[in-house]
Amino acid sequence: MSRILTYREALREGLDEELARDPNVVLMGEEVAQYNGAYKVTEGLWKKWGDKRVVDTPISEAGFIGMGIGASMLGVRPVMELMFWSFHSVAFDQLVSNAACVRYMSGGLCNCPIVVRGPANGGTGVGATHSHIPEGLFAAFPGLKVCAPATPADAKGLIKAAIRDNDPVYFMENTLLYGTTGEVPDPADGDFVIPLGVAEIKLEGSDVSLIAHGRSVIQSLAAAEILKTDHGISAEVLDLRSIRPLDQDAILKTVMKTNRVVLVDESKPFGGVSAMIAMLIQEHAFDYLDAPIKRVCSIDAPAIYSPHIEHEQLPNPRRIVEKVLTLR
């Protein structure tokens, strides 16, 4: 039996189940405990699990993320919340020089089973400093894994896989998705885990493939509806779910099926996730393409504040539809 949960509730349920499964799992971050989470993802968990398992940290990202990395080398499994992934920059040395490289530099003697999670999105009127979308940035560091779920079920299944993974996993959520709802399997029906590296077709189609992750999946589904009703175009929507490891087979399969592709990616155009995927498609499915690969990314500027125009900087159904129509 499935239930309808919000993305936030699904994440919380995943965290709660992992806290119960493994006594070495510890949640830490700013306001995650007594305040119940800045975005209420961890609501109730401190009350249930207490000070040892759910830890409020000072506003000190380099300090507490580095602390989690050090503790993970001893076998603790910290799940650390960045209130916004935008705050990665003040902990960047810890995130990339320590977490990503410690295994390599030690010739495999150390490992770093951490999860760093939090929202990574634009569209909430908080301006450029709070609207960075760094999944492509971190996926560019070998040693790191990155995922970005779009639905409540995926959020729960992937956070559980991320916590069980023995490598550092950077988990990108979305404040605009926290309140969205969807079916999530009942825990009574078994342990629900979605492996990293498995994409999912969210909508079957035959004319064009929309390849997306995170909230861009939701925007792509809305665009697919318009394409179908207004233009008679059947779009297939592939949700990557995981950026690294990446489900290359699923990408090539949908491209070979529809022969046209629009990549929908909330990050900026230069060197982002979609740039990598475009490279893989041209390398492995060049002969299957009936049109150039197109992209809908965020417009190439720092995130604008104005609520009147912010949604136009991000991928949205109108921009996706217009881009698909250029392929004809």
């Binding site: 070495n24 510890v26 040892k52 940290t57 000072p58 000190s60 380099a62 300090g63 507490f64 993320i65 580095g66 602390m67 989690g68 990395i69 050090g70 503790a71 993970s72 080398m73 001893l74 076998g75 603790v76 040395d93 810890q94 020089s97 320590n98 410690v102 295994r103 390599y104 530099m105 030690s106 010739g107 495999g108 003697l109 150390c110 490992n111 089973p113 070998p142 040693g143 894994k145 896989a161 993974d165 023995n166 490598d167 492996p195 990293l196 590296g197 498995v198 995981s242 690294r244 490891p245 990446l246 489900d247 290359q248 990598m276 893989l280 390398e283």
Partner: protein, 358 residues
């Protein structure tokens, strides 16, 4: 209270040092000598072009690593910055694996993947070897947090240079250490220079660098690094405070490096006077000071000291031969030790693409 006012105390008689047997004292002396001989050999082969990158020598600072690490129990852990060879040998890593690492060979402690700045031996509670100034300070905090979380009685000694004390990561670590009651001891190895910039030109402080700990309600002390007895006596107090009370300490150990920031630091004779270096070698060298004490105590003779030196020299020379004759990593080796899951061929590692080569 400064180290000068304490120098009249004889730390040889402190309880922790009274426990030292003659054999153990000779062991400590031998370890310091081995580090120095190892470093001298490394410098020689670096100059001969056998190594790449940087070589940050520890010569002059041996009492710090040997004195503090000699106090380590089963669950005491160590982490340091890039000047890491002394700590590596002091925790019991072999000269062969260390020299081979610098030669970039498969037999190196990190299989030739880390280099001089990145030695590791988790089986000996040694967690690196870290290249970014102060980047290791939150990790040391985390190791100590981990001990406390896992309910193990121990502490983490996290070493940093005087050049690291102005990095934000260190201050964030001090705040959390005090706030959370973390069993970490920060050991500032103060050799007076952050690369080529003297302490006075790089740090603002009252009294001494360690005194900054007061702002975080952390205990601190200053140690004369030329006396390994003093290093042990004061580190012991700090480590007990960590183990038993879960309280951090900042220790500032005054020491000196004979050579430049790295061997590539050609200017080191310009920012320091020959007299300054000579004074240290003659009056404060930790090995010489300890040797004199041990001779006076009747534990060591000139002959036995010479023998220890000769053996260490031969061991260092042999390690260079071992390193030279060892195989280099292969191109295939570049792609291992990136992910635990792929190295261990787990089911998770078979799902999705992890590497993006052609």
């Amino acid at each position: 209270m400064t180290s000068a006012s304490l120098s009249t105390l004889d730390f040889a008689n402190s309880p922790i040092n009274q426990l030292l047997t003659a054999e153990r004292k000779i062991e400590l002396y031998t370890q310091m000598v081995r580090i120095r001989r190892f470093e001298s050999a490394a410098a020689k082969f670096y100059s001969a072009g056998k190594m790449s990158g940087f070589l940050h020598l520890y010569i002059g600072q041996e009492s710090v690593a040997v004195g503090t690490i000699s106090l380590g129990g089963a669950d005491d852990h160590f982490i340091t910055a890039y000047r890491d060879h002394g700590h590596a040998l002091a925790v019991g890593m072999g000269m062969n694996e260390c020299m081979a690492e610098m030669f970039g060979k498969q037999t190196g402690c990190s299989k030739g993947k880390g280099g001089s700045m990145h030695f590791f031996a988790p089986d000996k509670n040694f967690w690196g070897g870290h290249g970014i100034v102060a980047g290791q300070t939150p990790l040391g905090l985390g190791l100590a947090y981990g001990l406390k979380y896992l309910g193990r009685e121990g502490c983490c000694l996290c070493y940093l240079g005087d050049g690291a004390v102005n990095q934000g990561a260190f201050h964030e670590s001090l705040n959390i250490a005090s706030l959370f009651g973390i069993p970490v001891v920060y050991v500032i190895e103060n050799n007076g220079y952050s690369m080529g910039t003297s302490q006075l030109r790089s740090s603002a402080y009252s009294g001494c660098l360690a005194q900054r700990a007061e702002a975080y309600a952390i205990e601190w002390d200053v140690v004369d690094g030329s006396d390994i007895y003093e290093v042990r006596a004061k580190a012991h107090i700090a480590m007990e405070r960590a183990r038993k009370e879960h309280k951090p300490t900042v220790l500032e150990i005054d020491t000196y490096r004979y050579y430049g920031h790295s061997v590539a630091d050609a200017n080191h004779k310009k920012y320091r006077t020959p007299e300054e270096i000579e004074d240290y070698k003659t009056n404060h060298d930790p090995i010489m000071v300890f040797e004199r004490k041990l001779v006076a105590e009747g534990v060591l003779t000139d002959d036995s000291a010479k023998k220890i030196n000769d053996l260490a020299k031969a061991e260092a020379t042999a390690s260079a031969k071992f390193a030279d004759e060892s195989p280099a990593p292969t191109i295939a080796d570049i792609s291992t030790d990136v992910y635990w899951e792929t190295d261990n061929h787990t089911p998770a590692s078979k799902i999705g693409r992890h590497f993006f080569n052609d």
